[in-house]
């Protein structure tokens, strides 16, 4: 396959940036999208041009490090991570536009690399159960209905890649935040800090400059792990009931 790549290049956070066009020749259908970029980068290096920088690590769809907004969709045409996207999803002669995630809270670092530490700060605001190591009850002391554990697991699968923010027309992080709020709101272990958690995580999400949700459902449709927007509804419930009943003034 021969492809035309329109890639966002930006030297650093302060650079204005712009698109550059490259031709990728001899692309095999079995290549992953990132392997296609690897080959491009080797060619650029041999020509003495700065290779295209992009985030990636595990390349098996679980670490959440890879990003890329491909042809107008986060992680490209399939509902998967970019590292699991293969070139057989494209056709010969196609032009592929590759952009970084775009959000105020995800500033571009270089080329296609963005800073997603806002997600870490949302978790730091309350995405945990405050138990110290040791001194916890036996694992089987509190039975948890299988259906509840399964629902919590559905939410916990979030890989924190930020595709929800990238897909959302408002660059909202509600799917990400709600997945963690939901996981811990569902489980008995999360009950003690349930109200404070919802309040603090929502406040941090806002402070980071993410947009508000308009319930378009784009996040759910693009989430590589299929996290459902029922989690957003649950977070809303948690938040509204927390603000009227918690002890936090």
């Amino acid at each position: 396959m021969k492809l035309t790549l329109k890639i966002w290049r930006q030297k650093n956070a302060t650079d204005k940036g712009g698109f550059a066009t490259y031709v990728a020749d001899h692309v095999s259908k079995d290549m992953s999208f990132l392997e296609m970029l690897d080959v491009l980068n080797d060619q650029l290096t041999e020509k003495g041009e700065d290779p295209v920088h992009f985030d990636h690590d595990c390349r098996e769809g679980i670490c959440g490090m890879c990003s890329l907004y491909i042809n107008g969709k986060p992680h490209g045409p399939q509902q998967t991570t970019t590292c699991q996207l293969h070139m057989r999803s494209f056709s010969d002669g196609e032009t592929i536009t590759i952009e970084p995630w775009r959000a105020k809270a995800f500033p571009v670092v270089k080329d296609l690399v963005v800073n997603r530490s806002a997600f870490d700060r949302i978790i730091q605001a309350g995405g945990y159960v405050s138990v110290n190591t040791g001194g916890v009850p036996d694992a089987n002391e509190i039975p948890i209905p299988k259906t509840v554990a399964d629902l919590a697991m559905d939410a916990a699968q979030c890989i924190g890649c930020g595709a929800c923010v990238a897909a959302c027309k408002n660059a909202s992080a509600m799917l990400f935040t709600s997945a963690k709020v939901s996981q811990l709101a569902l489980l008995p272990q999360g009950q003690v800090e349930r109200k404070t958690r919802a309040e603090k995580m929502v406040a941090q999400m806002d402070a980071e400059g993410f947009g508000a949700c308009t319930n378009t459902g784009a996040c759910e449709a693009e989430c590589p792990k299929g996290i459902s927007i029922t989690n957003i509804a649950r977070m809303n419930r948690e938040y509204f009931s927390a603000v009227v009943s918690s002890d936090n003034m």
């Binding site: 030297k11 095999s28 259908k29 079995d30 290549m31 992953s32 990132l34 392997e35 690897d38 080959v39 080797d42 290096t45 041999e46 003495g48 290779p51 990636h56 690590d57 595990c58 390349r59 098996e60 769809g61 679980i62 670490c63 490090m65 399939q78 699991q84 293969h86 670092v109 997603r116 530490s117 997600f119 870490d120 978790i123 730091q124 995405g127 945990y128 159960v129 405050s130 110290n132 190591t133 040791g134 916890v136 009850p137 036996d138 694992a139 089987n140 509190i142 039975p143 209905p145 299988k146 554990a149 919590a152 697991m153 916990a156 699968q157 924190g160 996981q183 811990l184 489980l187 272990q189």
Partner: protein, 644 residues
């Protein structure tokens, strides 16, 4: 030099309890006066950083990823072992201990392994308390499965994403301490060197991957939780960024490197599809519970298959060789990883491989679907089948999967004593970065257990014992050693940037990987290893004259990052070969073709090789010195593993 493992004397079951009691304690009011550096934020790093911060120490945590949550522990699929015996099927701490020692082919320390089994039960409690959503039965209690051929069901799991859930649990504990101000987080920061003052580790040198700033950080103790070095093979199931740099630089500063040749090759990975391949994807070994491994009985049929003249489903039952079931009737497809991997290699070497490259065997679910219905198989393995289809474009419900072994885990690593301290006082290694618990072969679902055991339940005691012996005064970052180490790191970077050769970094990494895979992979020979050593030396020379690293240090420069790591892999590769050459026996993940039983099984030499081979770095271009730590077995009897 004699290596002291510091295993406490006394009965096996009392060693850890006694040791904890005899360890010195740091006064609670003094804990805030001690600084601890944790490098790496995987299971071991995140759990250690969180636990130490909870105790009151000031922790600095470093990772090269953009977030601690992305460490490669996240990719572990299958589960975590713990001797809970919730299933009433005869499990116990002793049995987990015994299975681990035996599975490791008797190349691990009894004391360490027993402690691992002992604390395993507490890990599950801790994770559940953090909100890890483990799989449950309808009654609400935790579910277990049998894993990797274990005879008891002791594996806890969270769908096919156990590593992810455990890491997110540890990450949440870490995040809590970041919010409390007890942990300072340094993402996108790579450790470049250890600062050793008067023989003690007192800090590290790092490179900020965004700005390129080379900085020093002082502390009373340094914990390396930096994972394994499987990427020396270029193609492995490790993440692209997984590297040996932190461990290797520590090695060059005096930490011994133990058993580097012990690498685990995982049998169920998706085969290589072409030269462009950048990494290999593992599929949970639970697939072997229902899938049957086979190749065509003859070369001729395999040939036709490879040319696409026939399809797998056209091959008649009598023309299929279910080689694991044939050779190991009692364990069948569930033989340990090393045995399954090696046998796949054998049949492919015989020309019976089933894909275009000739390096793949079938893993067939046809009979399981017939027996249990497609729906049940879908429930059990749906996500794995989807993943396979995503990558290969083939539907495993219709066609048998193709699998081939791939490098997955490295049992070797920095030598540590019972306290997880390396040969440099104050420098610790946890998790896959150390060599300890798994001997020559790791059992399935034990990596997660070890990482968390080290971080949550071992290091908080042992590091305290060390710190209690130091004065609670700040480590002086103005000590000339810091400046010297920093300068050396800068020079190393300069050196790479100045070469301006003709070949990209990956070119060298791929070549190194091929040498290692061909000659220091699943089966090794003296001749091959000697060739490998020469090849690596030549490659190393070429690397330092012909690698092309563009750009500058003062920016995000992924090529420079890679070059740094590959430079260390090149040195490590040679040591692995040395170690494999030295170990004139076959055991676990190390198989020397010269040492096998008449029917092709690994032949251990307990008389001469029941030791840990720890290597001491003596300087640039010099052969490393071998230091032996004899293994003492007081509780288990060394037997030949048999899975017939």
């Amino acid at each position: 030099m004699i290596l002291d493992s510091k295993i406490p004397a006394g009965p096996l079951a009392e060693k850890w309890t006694k040791h904890k009691f005899s360890s010195k304690l740091v006064n609670p009011a003094n804990k805030r006066k001690y600084d601890v550096i944790v490098v790496g934020t995987g299971l071991a790093g995140a759990s250690a950083a969180a636990s130490l911060a909870e105790l009151g120490y000031n922790v600095k945590a470093f990772c090269f990823q953009d977030s601690p949550r992305r460490a490669h522990s996240i990719a572990a699929q299958g589960g975590i072992n713990a001797a809970k015996n919730y299933q009433n099927d005869g499990d116990s701490i002793y049995r987990l201990f015994y299975d681990t020692i035996k599975g490791g082919d008797y190349r691990a320390r009894e004391g360490n392994v027993y402690r691992l089994a002992e604390v395993s039960v507490k890990i599950i409690d801790q994770c559940v308390a953090q909100g890890v959503p483990f799989a449950r039965e309808y009654g609400g209690l935790l579910a277990n499965r049998s894993f990797g051929g274990a005879q008891v069901s002791r594996t806890f799991y969270a769908r096919g994403q156990t590593g992810q859930q455990l890491l997110l649990g540890a990450y949440s504990a870490l995040s809590r301490q970041v919010a409390n101000g007890k942990v300072k987080l340094f993402p996108r920061t790579e450790m470049m060197d250890v600062v050793v003052i008067d023989g003690q580790a007192k800090g590290i040198v790092t490179r900020n991957l965004i700005t390129g700033a080379v900085e020093t950080h002082a502390a009373h103790a340094v914990l390396l939780c930096t994972g394994g070095y499987g990427n020396v093979f270029f193609l492995s199931t490790n993440a692209m960024g997984s590297n040996v740099t932190a461990a290797w630089r520590a090695h060059k500063r005096g930490a011994f490197f133990a058993n580097p040749c012990f690498t685990q090759i995982h049998p169920t990975c998706i085969p290589v599809s072409g030269d462009h391949q950048s990494k290999l994807t593992l599929m949970s070994e639970s697939l072997r519970n229902d899938g049957r491994v086979w190749v065509p009985a003859t070369q001729e049929i395999a040939e036709k298959l490879r040319k696409g003249q026939i399809k797998a489903n056209d091959i008649k039952e009598e023309d299929r060789d279910y080689f694991l079931e044939r050779k190991y009737p009692s364990f069948g497809n569930l033989v340990p990883r090393d045995v399954a991997s090696r046998n796949a290699k054998y049949v492919c070497d015989e020309g019976r491989g089933v894909n275009e490259t000739g390096e793949a065997v079938f893993l067939d679910f046809r009979d399981a679907i017939k027996r249990d219905t497609r729906k049940i198989i879908e429930q059990k393995y749906g996500n794995l089948f989807d993943m396979y289809k995503q990558i290969t474009g083939e539907d495993p419900y219709e066609m048998p999967m193709m699998i081939y072994p791939a490098v997955h885990y490295t049992m070797g690593g920095l030598w540590v004593d019972y306290n997880l301290m390396t040969t440099v006082p104050g420098l610790y290694a946890l998790g896959e970065a150390n060599f300890s618990e798994h001997g020559a072969n790791r059992l399935g679902a034990s990596a997660l257990m070890q990482g968390l055991a080290d971080g949550y339940f071992v290091i908080p005691y042992t590091v305290g014992d060390y710190l209690a012996q130091l004065a609670p005064t700040k480590v002086d970052e103005n000590h000339p050693e810091f400046a010297r180490a920093k300068e050396e790191v800068k020079q190393g970077i300069e050196r790479l940037l100045k070469i301006n050769g003709n070949k990209p970094v990956d070119y060298f990494h791929k070549r190194l990987g091929k040498i290692m895979w061909d000659k220091c992979g699943m089966a090794r020979t003296e001749v091959g290893l000697k060739e490998a050593k020469a090849d690596i030396q030549a490659l190393k020379k070429e690397f330092w004259t012909n690698v092309k690293v563009l750009g500058t240090n003062e920016e995000l420069n992924q090529t420079l990052e890679k070059a740094n790591r590959v430079a260390d892999f090149l040195e490590l590769g040679e040591l692995m070969v040395d170690d494999a050459l030295n170990r004139n026996e076959s055991c676990g993940g190390h198989f020397r073709e010269e040492y096998q039983t008449p029917d092709g099984e690994a032949l251990r030499d307990d008389e001469n090789f029941a030791y840990v081979a720890a290597w001491k770095y003596l300087g640039e271009g010099k052969e490393e010195e071998l230091v032996k730590e004899e293994l003492v077995f007081e509780n288990v009897k060394l037997t030949q593993r048999s899975y017939k």
